[in-house]
């Protein structure tokens, strides 16, 4: 009965995303590229497999309860069970309650997941500190503003405390918000034992089995550590350890120059460390629009106490011990020959993140992961080993690897809830913005210029690029932060926004005008009539839209000219 329902849904034409069909091939490729930004090692060393997952003790006593797996139960304990209470699971749970579903969330660790406890949230606390330190240390900047500050200093313990406090505060906010709405929080590791059936429990306790009409896997990811690298948590660390800021080394090597590595380089250099980047690709900051990464390199790397090795793998990293420093063996990415040896005080492994899907019991429902990722279709429905959809099972967030961002997970979760409550929905990943919180920030949405050009050639349309500078923005100049660029890639024939990339002050906050326009299908010829307060940084995007040359005329009934509440 249920499966019939779900199949009929599958044939429904998506109503919310008119552009999806034409974009689907690009969408897939785009996700692949995005993953690159988080660490190319996932792609290049897929054979090495996962390293750290076995450290988390999961109950493996699955076989005992597989006897009655074949048939789904007749009535369910819950409408929806979400395995994993990270940002993705939380977003899904909240939306599910809003839609009237009886919802439970299973968490084996702490509520909030990576983002809140070991990712976005504490790192923003550190970056807030680094931004201020950077400003105070910039004599030139201070002088230009007419300010005088005697030597700026910091207390490591205090900084680390700030990061920790904010994490626990957000964690309790998340927990409370779910409790207040009546989401059951079940503690333990969740394992799928059969269709619509999950067991959970702590190690050493008896497992509880619960049933649900629909199940969402939202187990997230863990830092990916390539083989040959020995993480000791003190001198060779991952972002998990770095966020605790237990020490500030004089010299730290950062393996991987994606957004995690970049953000940490911002933090460490502001706190007085010197940084060496190790990047396997030939260029720093792969995954960003090339023009943006070039500019970012001029601002974020070259003038700072940072050097780098590109086109090399860190094939062996030994933690500091017996009076010896951290030793890093560099191997040429192409010739595979030993290239150099580095001796540093610490090494941060920022080669990306690996999905955390071991022990989920996927074998019970004939699902085989791909390099650890749970295969899903564009509606986040899990695909089994034979290429068929598994009914009532969805996977969102880092675990499916479509777009490894906290807010993407949440958006996917909301999309799934929409589907299970009767409204077909496909998330347009091209409308999901991404941001890197360096000083200044980098943000992006949609395609990069090379991706857009490739698509344009394939599909036979023209593209144009418009750019504006922060140097021309009054507010940016008042802040004495004129360094920056906003770039728009669009179709001149119909005014469709293909991608927007911003590097500059508060870029992460500025991107949403563009991402919302993409999500809502707003065209440039219409959005250019929207009014921005003066003087604000948002005028950077205003200028950007206005400088685009679109042949199509503005819509006759522009939503902007018809206020709803007048």
């Amino acid at each position: 009965m249920h499966s019939t329902l779900s199949f009929s849904r599958a044939t429904t034409v998506p109503t919310t995303n008119y552009a999806f069909h034409s974009q689907s091939p690009i969408n897939l490729r785009f996700c692949g590229l995005r993953r690159e930004a988080f660490g190319i090692s996932i792609l290049t060393r897929s054979s090495s497999g996962r390293v750290r997952l076995s450290t988390r003790g999961r109950s493996k006593r699955i076989s005992a309860s597989t006897g009655n797996n074949g048939t789904p139960p007749k009535s369910f304990d819950y409408d929806l069970i979400i395995i994993g209470a990270g940002v993705g699971g939380h977003g899904a749970a909240l939306h599910a309650v809003e839609k009237g579903l009886k919802t439970a969330i299973i968490e084996g660790d702490v509520v909030g997941g990576t983002c809140v406890n070991r990712g976005c949230v504490p790192s923003k606390a550190l970056l807030a500190v680094s931004g201020r330190m950077r400003e105070l240390q910039s004599e030139h900047h201070m002088k230009a503003l007419g300010l005088q500050v005697s030597a700026a200093g910091y207390d490591r313990q205090g900084v680390a405390g700030h990061a920790n406090n904010i994490a626990s505060k957000i964690r309790s906010n998340l927990t409370n918000s779910m409790k207040a709405l009546g989401v059951d929080i079940l503690t333990g590791f969740g394992t799928i034992v059969g269709p619509q059936k999950v067991k959970y429990g702590k190690v050493g306790f008896t497992d509880n089995v619960v049933t649900a009409k629909d199940i969402i896997i939202a187990t997230g990811s863990v830092p990916f550590v390539p083989k040959g690298i020995e993480v000791d948590g003190k001198t060779v660390i991952t972002s998990d350890h770095a966020l605790k800021l237990e020490f500030v080394p004089d010299w730290i090597a950062i393996v991987g120059s994606g957004y995690i590595g970049l953000e940490f380089s911002d933090v460490y250099t502001a706190l007085g460390s010197e940084v060496t980047f190790i990047e396997a690709l030939d260029q720093l900051m792969p995954g960003f629009d090339p023009e943006i990464s070039k500019l970012a390199q001029r601002v974020l790397i070259n003038p700072r106490k940072i050097d780098y090795h590109t086109g090399v793998f860190a094939t062996k990293i030994t933690p500091a011990r017996d009076g010896k420093p951290v030793i890093i063996e560099l191997t040429d990415a192409k010739t595979k020959e030993h290239k150099d040896t580095l001796e540093v005080d610490a090494a941060l492994i920022a080669t990306g993140r690996a999905p955390f899907t071991n022990g989920l019991g996927l074998e019970n429902i004939n699902v085989v992961t791909q390099r650890g990722f749970v295969p899903v279709d564009e509606r986040m429905r899990v695909i089994d080993a034979n290429g068929n959809l598994v009914p009532h099972l969805y996977c969102i967030g880092d675990a499916n690897g479509k777009m490894m961002l906290a807010h993407a997970a949440s958006a996917q979760g909301i999309s799934v809830v929409e589907q299970v409550t009767g409204r077909d929905h496909v998330l347009n990943h091209l409308s999901v913005p991404a941001a890197c919180f360096t000083h200044p920030e980098i943000s992006m949405v949609g395609l990069t210029e090379p991706q857009a050009r490739e698509k344009a050639v394939k599909e036979g349309f023209e593209i144009s690029v418009a750019k504006t500078s922060f140097k021309a923005n009054t507010k940016a100049l008042a802040e004495n932060e004129g360094e920056g660029l906003a770039k728009l890639i669009y179709r001149p024939d119909n005014g469709e926004i293909l991608g927007v990339h911003i590097f500059g002050l508060h870029a992460a906050d500025l991107i949403h005008e563009a991402s919302n326009a993409i999500a809502l299908g707003t065209r440039i010829q219409d959005i250019k009539f929207a009014v921005h307060a003066h003087p604000t940084l948002s005028e950077v995007l205003d200028e950007l839209f206005k400088s685009a040359k679109v042949k199509a005329p503005a819509s006759t009934s522009s939503p902007i000219s018809e206020p709803v509440a007048a």
């Binding site: 010197e274 150099d340 005080d345 400088s547």
Partner: protein
């Protein structure tokens, strides 16, 4: 606003074109007589650009170019820009390959008017690139004046590098018996900036790693390390039995010293107790205050009360009473001496003064001082105290009234008026002055005031 944008990202080609034409004029005229081979120059894409990197050549050797066609993409300190050809012709020879760096105004390629001249242009480019094998070091030949200051050719540095590795083996425990040089990222950057050969630097960081301050020390103290330009890298930096002409700066020092002989100078010395000053220095050192700034400040405050000591004699007939007190401080830099000036040292607070001083020293080392930053001094300080020198006298720089030589502050046994004996830190200062305007009594009174300020330095921090 749109115009501003255009200039920062898409420079109007007309301005580029104009600039490069004027830059090439002198050269191309003489060339045109022999053959129609023109040079394509590294353009100045922004006011602050001194060198540019070739991102990519859009044409290859032998390609035909029409006027206004893009030839090369150049990366400046701000952005990447296409550079267009200003003439029609054939791209005969590329002199700076992709990835290479060339100073603004130097030739990066040759343009032949006809196909027949391509071979000739190629030969020409080879002969010129042979003389200067490293693009990075290549300087425009027109700028002859700069020659003494600029590393002449790239051939020389290869010798010290080879030497450095063997030298390094003894001093870098971190470098696997000298096979590698271990230097922190910032140390490497600084070394490049200050032209210090890392192989000659002894590391003081963890496990003998070279850190930034080692490079800074090497840039100031060890002339060998700082001057790969010297023709022969013998350990002392001097080849015995040779005559080495003055650099521009050394020539200027020489002229000034001879000129000083026409001024009737005399000297007055004084011993000042520095215990209080030392204590103050210890207290505010962490805020970035330097002893040099403290001394400059004390001197400036004393000069406020004795304007005659801040005066000078320009024409032999009159006093010139200077309106501001600008303390010049002598600094030894690679291959010479310069006197950065702390302007209005009496009015500026000690913290600002210290920052200013640091800035000036950095600029002096980078040879970026502007004329007003080194030739507007009204009173000069020369301090050799840090080297343990206890007393010396200085030559009066022309155009000023007085210079004070400061010796080291040392613990001394001192008999006091009441018949007791005690230990005090004392330093000797010795003022050289122009007796046409400053007399013995003036200096004596000035020194007494200075001693009072130093011995009770509360006024230095306001």
């Amino acid at each position: 606003m749109a115009n501003v944008l255009q200039t920062s990202f898409l420079p109007s080609t007309s301005s580029l074109r104009r600039r490069s034409i004027s830059g090439s004029k002198g050269k191309s005229q003489s060339l045109q007589v022999k053959a129609k081979i023109r040079e394509i120059f590294m353009p100045a894409l922004s006011s602050t650009m001194t060198e540019g990197k070739i991102v990519s050549w859009m044409k290859s050797e032998g390609d035909k170019l029409s006027k206004g066609e893009s030839v090369v993409v150049v990366e400046s300190d701000k952005a990447d820009m296409d550079v267009e050809s200003f003439h029609e012709g054939f791209l005969a020879a590329i002199m700076v390959e992709e990835g290479g760096v060339a100073p603004v105004g130097s030739a990066i390629a040759l343009l032949a008017e006809t196909e027949d001249e391509i071979a000739e242009a190629k030969a020409k480019s080879q002969s010129s690139s042979n003389s200067t094998p490293q693009v990075v070091e290549e300087k425009p030949k027109q700028i002859e004046e700069a020659a003494p200051d600029v590393p002449a050719a790239a051939a020389a540095p290869s010798v010290p590098v080879a030497k450095a590795v063997t030298l390094g083996s003894a001093v870098h425990p971190a470098s696997e018996g000298g096979k590698r040089i271990v230097a922190s990222p910032y140390a490497k950057k600084l070394a490049k900036e200050l032209k210090v050969d890392l192989g000659t630097v002894v590391g003081s960081g963890p496990l003998g790693r070279i850190v930034a301050k080692d490079v800074e020390a090497a840039a100031v103290a060890v002339p060998v390390a700082a001057s790969p330009a010297k023709p022969d890298p013998v350990a002392s930096g001097i080849e015995l039995g040779t005559v080495v002409p003055f650099t521009t700066m050394q020539g200027a020092v020489s002229r000034n010293m001879v000129e000083s002989l026409s001024v009737p100078t005399f000297r007055v010395g004084y011993t000042i107790t520095t215990n209080a000053l030392d204590a103050l220095y210890k207290k505010i050192k962490s805020k970035g205050v330097t002893m040099t700034a403290l001394l400059a400040k004390a001197t400036a405050l004393a000069l406020v009360q004795h304007p005659v000591v801040n005066s000078c004699c320009r024409d032999g007939n009159s006093f010139t009473y200077n309106s501001s007190i600008n303390i010049a401080v002598a600094v030894a830099i690679d291959g010479g001496l310069i006197t950065p000036v702390l302007q209005d040292a009496d009015k500026v607070d000690i913290y600002t003064l210290s920052r200013k001083w640091k800035e000036l020293v950095d600029k002096a080392r980078a040879k970026q001082l502007q004329p007003h930053e080194y030739n507007t001094g009204t009173f000069t300080l020369s301090n050799l105290g840090m080297f343990g020198v206890d007393r010396f006298d200085a030559i009066l720089p022309p155009g000023t009234g007085a210079i004070m030589a400061v010796g080291a502050s040392q613990p001394s046994v001192v008999a006091s008026m009441d018949g007791r004996i005690g230990m005090k830190n004392q330093m000797q200062v010795n003022v050289t002055a122009d007796h046409r305007v400053i007399y013995g009594a003036d200096l004596a009174a000035f020194l007494q005031t200075l001693a009072k300020i130093v011995e009770d330095p509360k006024d230095l921090t306001f």
